[in-house]
Amino acid sequence: MESLKAIMASVLGIKQEKLNDNFSRDNSEEWDSFNHLMLMSEIEKKTGIKFTIKEIESIKSFKNLKDTFEKKAKAK
């Protein structure tokens, strides 16, 4: 399965090295609302993990995303 970092880097058009826990929607020009939806869709497509609207709205940083994803992957 493609890693979360690889999916995110591909959707945002950035290098994986740029992605750390501090990487957020507030400090990234690439992570705009359009790319946020594309990212959620791409994660679902590549991993089968589905997010709720509430989760999509609450994910603001790479750490948020990683934590939410791992929690859902464990519960699957």
Binding site: L37, E44, K45, K50, T52, I56
Partner: protein
């Protein structure tokens, strides 16, 4: 036709319609877009090009994709958020075009529906292709 809810849409669903390109439609797009390029509007000029006549507007084709999404698939329940467009070959006034859409993916999280779009001229010549993504925006899902 009633627009479909996200749960009613399935991968493999399809829709199509045909449209005749006449002078009226060609000129209407010319006026709406403001594109009066001689390759579209001047027969004498166009006779000297490699196509030897006026060619149809590429972006008129994308307006038929709008009709496909708005009227047929899903049919008025979504907004288009992304569209690829490859204008493979030209078309001409007098052509009959067939616009075809097929659902190739669904993403539950975002209510995205991915649709493969193609347009053929005179039954069998592919002139346009490009995948689009629409988002079903009904509140109750």
């Amino acid at each position: 036709m009633k627009g479909k809810e996200f749960s009613e849409i399935n991968v493999g669903d399809g829709a199509s319609f045909t449209v005749k390109i006449d002078e009226k439609l060609h000129n209407a797009f010319s006026n709406v877009s403001g594109d009066k390029s001689p390759i579209h509007c001047n027969e004498k000029f166009s006779s000297k090009t490699k196509f030897e006549k006026r060619i149809g507007y590429a972006f008129l084709l994308t307006s038929f994709v709008s009709r496909l999404y708005g009227e047929y698939l899903p049919g008025g329940t979504s907004v288009c958020i992304k569209q690829d467009a490859k204008f493979v070959k030209p078309y001409f006034i007098g052509d009959e075009l067939k616009v075809i859409g097929k659902v190739i993916g669904k993403m539950e999280s975002t209510k995205f529906v991915e649709i493969k779009t193609e347009i053929y001229r005179n039954k069998n010549e592919l002139i346009f292709r490009g995948n689009g993504i629409v988002q079903v925006i009904l509140k109750n899902e």
